[in-house]
C-alpha cells in the first residue's frame, strides 16, 4: 500500500515539476498543446471508467462535454455580454441572472452532467452491448440538436464567445491530476472491483451480491461528472464554443485514446492522450512541403492523418489490448518486484 502511495506522490511531484518547466521554457503554441492534452486526459480517463473499467460501450461523452461546456460558459459570461451576443433570439431572462466564478462554474457543469447521466441510466442500462451503444449515441445527437435549436439558451448555431479565459496549463494540469487520482481511488476500492466484475461477467457479479445497476449508474454518473468538468475547462480554454465542436468526432477521438492506451488502464489513457492529441499536432510537419538534401516533396495536406492512421494500425497489431492493456504503472512495478 505505502509503496503505491510513494509512487503516486512521486508522480504528482514530477508532473508539477514538468508543468513548471514547460510553463517557463516553452512557447505559447506548445503550452496550448499541453493544456489541450491535460483537458483530454480528464475527458478520456473519465470515459475509460464507463467504457474500459465497467465495460459498458457507451458513445455519449460528446453530449456530456457539450453540457459541461455550455453550463460553464453561461455561468461565466456576464449578463451585458450575453445581451450583446444573442442574435437569433432574446436570451432567456433567467440566463442573465447566472454568474459565478470559474471553480463553482466547473462544479455545476459536473453536477448537471451527472444528473443527466442519472436520468439517462434508467433507460440506458436496460439494454446491453450493441444496443447500449446505439441508445447513448442517440443522446449525443440529441444534445447537439438541442444546442442548435434553442437559441434563447445556447445562442443556436452561432455558439457562445468571449468566455472569460483564465485557464492555463497549471489549472488544466491540476484538474487532470485530481481526476486521475479520484479515478484510481475508485478503481482500487470495492466499487472499482464491482465495475470490473460487471465488465468481466455481469451475471456472475450479481450472483456474488453486486448490485450491478447501481454500480453501472455510479460509473456512468462519475464519468459524466468529470466529462462535464472537462467540458467546462475546454470552453474556458477555447473561449468560443459552438455546437460544431461537440460532434461525434469528439467521442471518436476519445475512443481512439482509450483503445490505443488500453481499455481499462488509466496510465494507458494518459499515454494515449499524449500520443493522439500531441501526435496530431507534432505530425503537422508532414503536411508541409519537404526540402531535404535536395529532395523536394510537394505539400500533401492530410498526409499526417495517413501517417497517424498507419501508426495506430501498427500499435493495434503489436499490442492488441492497447499499449498498457489493463495494467497500471503500479502493476508494472509490482511485476518487477516479483
Amino acid at each position: 500500500m505505502s509503496k503505491i502511495k510513494t509512487l503516486q506522490l512521486m508522480a504528482i511531484m514530477l508532473t508539477i515539476l514538468l508543468m513548471w518547466l514547460a510553463q517557463n521554457h516553452l512557447d505559447d503554441y506548445s503550452l496550448r498543446i499541453l493544456t489541450t492534452i491535460a483537458i483530454f486526459i480528464i475527458l478520456a480517463t473519465s470515459y475509460n471508467l464507463i467504457n474500459g473499467i465497467t465495460g459498458q460501450l457507451s458513445l455519449e461523452p460528446n453530449g456530456f462535454v457539450a453540457v459541461g461546456a455550455y453550463v460553464t460558459a453561461l455561468l461565466l459570461i456576464s449578463s451585458d455580454a450575453k445581451l450583446d451576443m444573442y442574435q437569433l433570439a432574446e436570451p432567456s431572462p433567467w440566463l442573465l441572472l447566472l454568474n459565478t466564478t470559474l471553480v463553482p462554474a466547473l462544479f455545476f457543469s459536473g453536477v448537471v452532467s451527472a444528473i443527466l447521466a442519472f436520468i439517462l441510466a434508467f433507460p440506458v442500462f436496460r439494454v446491453r452491448g450493441d444496443y447500449l451503444a446505439i441508445v447513448t449515441l442517440g443522446f449525443g445527437f440529441i444534445i447537439r440538436v438541442f444546442a442548435v435549436n434553442t437559441p434563447a439558451v445556447t445562442n443556436g448555431a452561432i455558439g457562445l464567445n468571449d468566455i472569460p479565459s483564465s485557464v492555463n496549463l497549471y489549472w488544466a494540469g491540476a484538474f487532470a491530476m485530481a481526476t486521475v487520482l479520484i479515478m484510481l481511488n475508485i478503481i482500487y476500492s470495492k466499487y472499482g472491483r464491482g465495475m470490473k466484475a460487471v465488465r468481466d461477467d455481469e451475471d456472475a457479479a450479481s450472483a456474488m451480491g453486486v448490485n450491478t445497476f447501481k454500480i453501472k449508474t455510479y460509473a456512468f454518473m462519475t464519468s459524466a461528472f468529470f466529462e462535464g468538468v472537462g467540458g467546462g475547462l475546454l470552453a474556458v480554454f477555447l473561449t468560443t464554443i459552438s455546437p460544431d465542436i461537440f460532434t461525434f468526432f469528439l467521442t471518436f477521438q476519445l475512443i481512439i485514446i482509450i483503445v490505443l492506451g488500453g481499455l481499462g488502464s488509466m496510465t494507458g489513457t494518459i499515454i494515449g492522450a499524449f500520443l493522439v492529441i500531441g501526435g496530431g499536432e507534432w505530425l503537422r510537419v508532414l503536411d508541409e512541403e519537404v526540402n531535404f538534401l535536395g529532395l523536394h516533396i510537394d505539400a500533401h495536406p492530410g498526409m499526417r492523418m495517413v501517417v497517424f492512421s498507419v501508426i495506430l494500425i501498427v500499435v493495434m497489431i503489436f499490442a492488441r489490448e492497447g499499449i498498457m492493456g489493463k495494467r497500471e504503472l503500479t502493476d508494472l512495478f509490482r511485476r518487477v518486484k516479483k
Binding site: R193, A207, M208
Partner: protein, 255 residues
C-alpha cells in the same frame, strides 16, 4: 428446514422446463439434484437464485418468500452459487475475485472510497484478512496475485467455490462442481466440499452427473426428468430405481 420449494413451474413459451417441482432441504444437508441433460436442473438453480421468476409456485428460504427478489439481494439473504461453466472474473486477480464475494460485507460509501477516509482502510483490511483465510483454506494463497484466467481448471473451480463461500452463505448451490475433473481431483473435491460444509456451517444443493461423487457426498437426491420429479431419497436407492435408470438410459432396455 432451510429451503422449501413448493410446486414451482417455470414455463418458457410452450415448454415447461420445470413442472410443479417441490422439495425441501434440511439444515446442514447435502442435497443432490440429478437427471439427464435438459431435465431442468440448472433452471431450478436459476429460479432459486432469482435469475428467473417462476411462472407459479413459491420458494421459501428460512421461512421468507424469495420469489421475485433480485439475485444480488438473494445473495445477501444467504444463498450463493457457482456456475456450470466456470464464470470467474477473468481479468481480475484471485484476491479480487474473492473480495467481490465480500462486496456486501464491506461498509463504506462511494465518497469514502474517493476521499480515502479511515473507514475505507479498516473495512478493506478486515475483508482482505478474511479473504486470505478463505484462500488458505482452499489452498489458493500462493495464487493470490495471479489472474484468475492463469489458473489450472481444477483451481479455477476452487476459486469459484471460495468466492461463493466469501459471501457468507447459509445455502450453497453448486452447479456440476466436478465437471471436467479427473477421478483423483473429483475425490479431493468431494472431501473438500464435505469439510467446508462443516467448517463454514452451510447446507449444500448440488447438481452433478458423476454418480460416484453423488453417492459419496449427498444425503438425499432428487431425480428430475423433463422438469418433473421422478425420485427422491437416498442416492444408493436412486441407482436401483427402475424409473431413474430408464430416464438416464432410455426405455429400450425394457422392450
Amino acid at each position: 428446514m432451510i429451503l422449501h420449494v413448493d410446486k414451482i413451474t417455470m414455463q418458457f413459451g410452450g415448454i415447461k422446463a420445470i413442472n410443479e417441482l417441490s422439495f425441501s432441504i434440511k439444515d446442514k444437508e447435502i442435497y443432490g439434484l440429478i437427471g439427464p441433460n435438459g431435465a431442468g436442473k440448472t433452471t431450478a438453480f436459476n429460479v432459486i437464485t432469482g435469475n428467473y421468476i417462476p411462472s407459479s409456485g413459491s420458494i421459501k428460504f428460512e421461512n421468507k418468500d424469495v420469489v421475485g427478489v433480485k439475485p444480488h439481494k438473494i445473495v445477501k439473504l444467504g444463498i450463493a452459487r457457482t456456475f456450470q461453466n466456470i464464470r470467474l472474473f477473468k481479468s481480475m486477480s484471485v484476491m479480487d475475485n474473492i473480495l467481490i464475494g465480500f462486496d456486501s460485507a464491506m461498509h463504506y460509501t462511494y465518497l469514502e472510497s474517493i476521499l480515502r477516509l479511515p473507514r475505507f482502510f479498516s473495512e478493506e483490511k478486515k475483508s482482505r484478512q478474511k479473504a486470505k483465510e478463505i484462500m488458505e483454506y482452499f489452498g489458493l494463497l500462493e495464487f493470490e496475485h495471479h489472474k484468475a484466467s492463469e489458473l489450472s481448471y481444477g483451481n479455477q473451480r476452487k476459486v469459484e467455490i471460495a468466492r461463493a463461500i466469501a459471501t457468507n452463505p447459509k445455502l450453497l448451490l453448486l452447479d456440476e462442481p466436478a465437471a471436467g475433473m479427473n477421478p483423483a481431483e473429483t475425490k479431493e473435491l468431494a472431501t473438500l466440499i464435505k469439510k467446508a460444509k462443516d467448517d463454514f456451517d452451510i447446507s449444500i444443493l448440488l447438481i452433478e452427473h458423476d454418480m460416484k461423487f453423488v453417492n459419496h457426498l449427498c444425503d438425499r437426491v432428487l431425480v428430475l426428468d423433463y422438469g418433473k420429479m421422478i425420485f427422491e431419497g437416498k442416492p444408493s436407492e436412486a441407482i436401483k430405481n427402475e424409473e431413474v435408470v430408464s430416464a438416464y438410459l432410455g426405455d429400450f432396455i425394457h422392450d
